[in-house]
Amino acid sequence: MERALFYIIALIMVLYAIKAVTSRKMLRSVVYLLFVLTGIAGIYFMVDYTFMAAVQLAVYAGGVIVLIIFSVLLVHHIELRLDVSKLSQRVMAGVVSILGLVLTLYAIHTYDFVPSAAQQPIEVSQIGRGMLSFEDGGFILPFEVISVLLVAVMIGAIVIAKGKKLEQ
């Protein structure tokens, strides 16, 4: 049962991903990406990582995609068909991508992954506690660094968005 579900989700994701990168209409690419992100949230659900799935849907599907749609609407004539790049460029990119893909798959499939027997569900409280602990396995430092990063991003976004008016 999960197998079938997984394969359907996988197929949808791949299909819409390809359509996202090849679509000639901007808004459609964004929407296809939305579908891919939703599929990813589905995968998270399937590995019992519900927290992340929720975060994915909220942040990505709700925030990032909306942001991008706003920018698309601001800068773009929605009806305009996008240009495609030259065939040579597409071929070269395709070759490189496929080559890389082959390499990666080869690397993956020749490695002997040993799945662990013990399985625990992932508790949010566990995540929270781990994020703030400074014993072994604690991630307090990256947590604080991320907060600094977010402050920087906020300031940067404000400065950029304000533009030249800041000087006057």
Binding site: Q89, M92, A93, V96, S97, L99, G100, L103, Y106, A107
Partner: protein
């Protein structure tokens, strides 16, 4: 006996040259004239002192004059391969020191007056000193390399001095012609040096000319096309000498070299540089005599004889007095080569050698005088041509008398120096080859004729009315004339045969009265003919020249040799040989270089596209690079 102080003799003019050359703009002209002349005076005194020391104080050791050499190691390649510089003091080098320093000093004094007012006065004296340095170095050379180096230096000095009036195109092309023709001859010289050095085993003169030495004794060891290799080397060396001495067929530069100032012609193209070829053959004379029974020496004799005749015939027809004197020089040098060619080695057989050197000595005096006097005349009349001159004896007495003395000397009038030296040459020729003797006799007659042709044409002839009355030259110019005139008489009485000989041992030379009488008679006939034709203005000369018809025209045009050479070089060498080579050089060699350059540029243009500024290109390169590197090095999938 330490003769190393003779190294100063070339070095003093070199110092003067450097001094004048480097302070060219800062020295006032009069001062540079004094500096140049003073330097030469010191050199002169040193040369005379050396001659006195060599001939009288050291003298002979058991009837033989010794050769003294001083060597300084210049370049060392290996233990056995090295090049020395040095001084070689023997009979002919000491004699040449005296000749060169005397004539050079006289020319310096003369130039102080002649070149006055000229813009490049200091430059002129600098070049004169450069030339004197080069000539002294050549004369004192101790091996073939050193003589070649100074040979080329002399050529350069000649180029600089002929082209002194560098704004005149004819002077510039004359300088180029002189340099190129002598350079071409020097190619043969260089090849000859290399052959002699390799097969003879040494470049050193003392080793080479030793009759029992390996160079001469083993001349037959290697052969090439029927002649010994050493003979070929000697012939090629003679080619170099023939170029510098304006022997046929490399004579074309000498008449054109008259474009230079007259003191230059006197110094270089009459007395010193052009005899360098004769000096070279004399220096290597034992080799020329002994190798292959004198094959090369025979060639020297015939080239000399032919050149003498050829030049005399052309000199009969020329109207520019400097050109007549130039061809006369060529003819007299032909005499000197001829004398060397018919010479033997031992004792009285070496009469040709002795007379050649004797004639070199006396010729320097009277030819130098003739050129300086011609300079005086040209200065007074402002023209080189006979048609603008006449009756100058009334206006320029000193020049007149000195010119007459020199003309009598060169014609072999009894009592004057030329008589003694020319007579010895004819005796030597008679004793060895009667045919050459006849040529020499004929040339003697022609010499007298053309010399007195211009004498009468200048000083007698038409009673011309001049616009600017010609005046006698100042004392600075007439003193050298008088001195050289005295020399033209007195040097005949030097007992040369006890001083300069082929085998370094003195011998007795006697006057051969029948032959002398014959020579004098022929000379007097020449003088008489010139008197009849030219003393009073008449149309007799034109009728005579028309009588000769085509022969006269050919002689007047120097037998069209200039045109012939121009044709050969332009049509044949330039078009057929040089042009393909030039094409090859421009297209293939340059093309290859350009190809390398252009392909680099094209490559860089292509590579420049990598830095396109486009983010996607950079990302592509990054990912592709990572993938390929991973494939190659991590997984060893060789593509």
């Amino acid at each position: 006996m330490d003769f190393s102080y003779t190294a100063l003799i070339p070095l003093i003019p070199l110092a003067v040259f450097l001094l004048l050359g480097m302070n060219y703009t800062r020295i006032k002209p009069a001062v540079s004239g004094w500096i140049g002349s003073l330097g030469l005076l010191v050199t002169l005194l040193l040369s005379y002192y050396t001659a006195y020391q060599y001939f009288f104080v050291v003298g002979k050791v058991g009837e033989v004059y010794q050769t003294f050499t001083e060597h300084w190691r210049w370049m060392t390649f290996t233990d056995t391969l090295y090049i020395d510089m040095g001084v070689m003091i023997d009979q002919i080098s000491v004699m040449m020191l005296v000749v060169v320093s005397t004539i050079s000093f006289m020319v310096h004094l003369y130039s102080r007056g002649y070149m006055k007012g000229d813009g490049g006065y200091t430059k002129f004296f600098a070049f004169l000193s450069l030339f004197t340095f080069s000539m002294m170095g050549l004369v004192l050379a101790v091996n073939l390399f050193q003589i070649y180096i100074f040979w080329e230096l002399v050529g350069v000095s000649s180029f600089l001095l002929i082209g002194y009036y560098y704004t005149k195109p004819s002077a510039v092309s004359a300088a180029k012609k002189a340099f190129i023709v002598t350079r071409f001859a020097d190619l043969g010289f260089l090849i000859g040096i290399l052959i002699i050095g390799y097969y003879g085993g040494s470049f050193d003169f003392v080793t080479l000319v030793d009759p029992e030495g390996s160079a001469i004794a083993n001349w037959a060891s290697t052969s090439f096309m029927g002649l010994s290799v050493i003979t070929w080397g000697l012939i090629l060396i003679f080619m170099g000498g023939a170029g510098k001495s304006a022997m046929f067929p490399l004579h074309i530069w000498l008449p054109d070299a008259m474009e230079g100032p007259t003191p230059v012609s006197a110094l270089i193209h009459a007395a010193t540089m052009v005899v360098a070829g004769v000096y070279l053959v004399a220096r290597l004379f034992p080799m020329y005599y002994f190798v292959e029974s004198g094959y090369a020496l025979n060639l020297v004799a015939w080239v000399g004889a032919f050149s003498a005749l050829f030049a005399a015939v052309i000199a009969l027809t020329q109207n520019d007095i400097k050109r007549v004197l130039a061809y006369s020089t060529m003819s007299q040098i032909g005499y000197m080569m001829l004398a060397l060619g018919v010479s033997g080695y031992e004792g009285h057989d070496g009469l040709g050698y002795m007379s050649s050197m004797f004639h070199l000595f006396t010729h320097a005096m009277f030819k130098g005088l003739l050129f300086l006097a011609a300079g005086s005349i040209i200065h007074a009349v402002h023209s080189n041509y006979l048609k603008d001159m006449g009756s100058l004896r009334k206006y320029m007495p000193v020049t007149h008398i000195t010119f007459l003395i020199a003309a009598l000397s060169i014609s072999g009038f009894p009592g004057f120096a030329g008589f003694f030296s020319k007579d010895e040459i004819l005796v030597a020729a008679y004793e060895h080859n009667p045919f050459i003797y006849l040529i020499g006799l004929l040339v003697a007659g022609m010499t007298a004729f053309y010399m007195f042709r211009i004498y009468f044409g200048i000083f007698w002839g038409e009673d011309r009315k001049y616009e600017h009355t010609p005046h006698e030259s100042p004392v600075s110019m007439t003193f050298p004339l008088v001195f050289l005139a005295a020399m033209s008489i007195l040097t005949g009485y030097i007992p040369f045969s006890s001083l300069v000989t082929a085998d370094h041992m003195p011998f007795e030379a006697h006057l051969n009265y029948p032959l002398a009488g014959l020579a004098v008679g022929v000379g007097l006939i020449g003088i008489g003919l010139a008197y009849l034709l030219y003393k009073k203005p008449s149309d007799l000369p034109e009728r005579v020249s028309k009588g000769f018809g085509n022969l006269y025209t050919w002689a007047y045009h120097k037998f069209y040799f200039d045109e012939l050479y121009l044709f050969i070089t332009k049509e044949i060498i330039f078009k057929r040989i040089s042009a393909p080579f030039a094409w090859f050089d421009r297209n293939v060699v340059d093309g290859t270089m350009n190809l390398i350059g252009n392909s680099t540029v094209a490559g860089s243009k292509g590579i420049r596209k990598l830095q396109s500024g486009r983010l996607q290109d950079y990302a592509f390169a990054f990912i592709a690079g990572a993938v390929i590197l991973a494939m190659l090095f991590i997984y060893n999938w060789i593509i």
